[in-house]
Symmetry: C2
Subunit: 390 residues, 2 copies
Amino acid sequence: MNNFVFYSPTEFVFGKDAEAQVGTMVRMYGGSKVMIVYGGGSIVRSGLLLRIQQSLQESSLSYCMLSGIQPNPTDAKVYEGIELCRKEKADMILAVGGGSVIDTAKAIAAGVLYDGDFWDFYIGKAVVEKALKVGVVLTIPAAGSEGSGNSVITKASTLQKLSLRTLKSLRPVFSIMNPELTYTLPPFQTACGIADMMAHVMERYFTNTKDVEIADRICEGILLAIIKEAEVVMKEPDNYGARANLMWCGTIAHNGTCGTGCEEDWASHFLEHEISAIYNVTHGAGLSVIFPAWMTWMTEHHIEKIVQYAIRVWGVSEDGTEKEIAMEGILRLKSFLSSIGLPVTFKELGIEHPDIDRLVDNLHNNKGELVGNYVKLTRKDSKEIYELAL
Amino acid sequence: MNNFVFYSPTEFVFGKDAEAQVGTMVRMYGGSKVMIVYGGGSIVRSGLLLRIQQSLQESSLSYCMLSGIQPNPTDAKVYEGIELCRKEKADMILAVGGGSVIDTAKAIAAGVLYDGDFWDFYIGKAVVEKALKVGVVLTIPAAGSEGSGNSVITKASTLQKLSLRTLKSLRPVFSIMNPELTYTLPPFQTACGIADMMAHVMERYFTNTKDVEIADRICEGILLAIIKEAEVVMKEPDNYGARANLMWCGTIAHNGTCGTGCEEDWASHFLEHEISAIYNVTHGAGLSVIFPAWMTWMTEHHIEKIVQYAIRVWGVSEDGTEKEIAMEGILRLKSFLSSIGLPVTFKELGIEHPDIDRLVDNLHNNKGELVGNYVKLTRKDSKEIYELAL
């Protein structure tokens, strides 16, 4: 087991009607004027935005608003938010939505207190030393951004989709999580969220680090819970128990609970980021295509943990060769993903003829000549994995 | 799943040589003069105390010291610590040890800033509104106090052993955890720690709350990891990987990671507290006697979750009656506890003729007529459980 720091200071307020506490939470964490950041009209139509505004007003808090955050969020909205936030003198950012909204809120929170271009943080030219506090009302369980210090933004002009990772400065101070708010998520978006949270667990699970039994068991436990509850929620979108289990799984998949003491991989995420940056597909759908391809490639190059995964997560019998066990596990993963309506090939993703050379070039130009850790992928390896996903 | 708040803001610095960071951490969290609280001579003999003092000095921090904390810590040391802390004007408490030391440090931290008797917090007469910050260097993985907001203190004059539970005010700001520091723990103390952390998981696992699949899977995963690593560590006390896995299991068993959204039980802990308060046995050893007895009683009164536990944690075959499955699981638990050198009966605990009537009276006088939640135990029920442990 490697040395590690576990730090997850976010206060998670989880359950029915939790959003009624948003005013209290903002005040508890020292906000006086918040900038509400959100996406489209669904939180308006559902009445959620109104309930949040009422809660803020009841706590005598003022607010301004930034709407229109899109999936795969771009730098343009961050610049707009920074300008608005400075003009309105907001002292806390309240993200109401899923990963795209939260990631944008974090970028704004860091950018407001920085003299240079916020993009400096994403290209490693500057480190976030101070940021406004961010609070969250989560509506889409998927990205795990409500419990992480990370943010992913795409620069529209270059289609660079880059991650900013912080231990402390960008963790939300609170995240309000009401599973009922996720009842109305369309099935495809629910499924994409499931693929995303599973991927967050698996990026940490596939490690070379030895003596990580507790990390393995936690990862496997979360995956088993996701798999069970996913089947329920696809049939019964308003099953509170299933929605609640999935929502919490999405958070602990990415707040540091998984992978303690492990060197993490993240190759599949990086392989996918290039797909969603160019083709603007949903991140979770892209992961559903890439992760099985990555695993399949691994059966020829570093099969060990894939075998354990097949046995412990998918219940594959230990009788058979390592290759047979691993391939059966991957088959069950793909069947599961298909069963909840996700694509498992580029073709099913709607990309009949992906420009694989461009994907490979972008990946390695952005992330370096070697990508990932479980096996450090070269350009040749990445190309083979993209091809396995055709 | 019930509504819940997950809040674990403690910064856990985990790994080899982690204690060298203690000065940096104290300074980061705003301490300028710390009171070091510890137990006996082992941290002096091992050189740990000296290394901590050096680290504090390198960060230009001053300190005073309170030593002599005993297992099942009593109020006397708390009063002594409060007085010393006020006299020395220490602004942070640094606990170096296991649960007894940390619990004493927390009691002092709350008492220093309170005008009345600190015991008021433990009998529910007052609520902790402010406390000095507590930092931890953990040397015994067991109690989980390094990641919890709780403290258990015994009032010597009445032998009342009472818990104080806080969500926020008594959580350590940081906990430094170097598994190497646990190499020299005697086998019995290691085993008692294992029983304690397993009990912390199981108190949350045995719940009536429905739709808690993620909580179940997390609990089961931690138990599986503990069981595996316990066998290793009893044979190889200086196996870093096994010590590291156990140490982290002890923390996440009790920092809120387990049992999210569950009504917890805690009857076994309460049944045990009366034993260790009267007979001054090690808490973990007492739990090792009581928990199997509690489970055995449950096979006649509420078997459901005991069956799931037997199957998922102990790998008991699903063939057979519920009673057979449950009893086989309990048998395997007892075999495991015996195999690591723990008692599973009062007699093995060294209490040939326990005063069961006194235990029952103390329990219900301290905790109320009904104890626990999985089944709410009456005086008659508690007596039967104590008798099953003979």
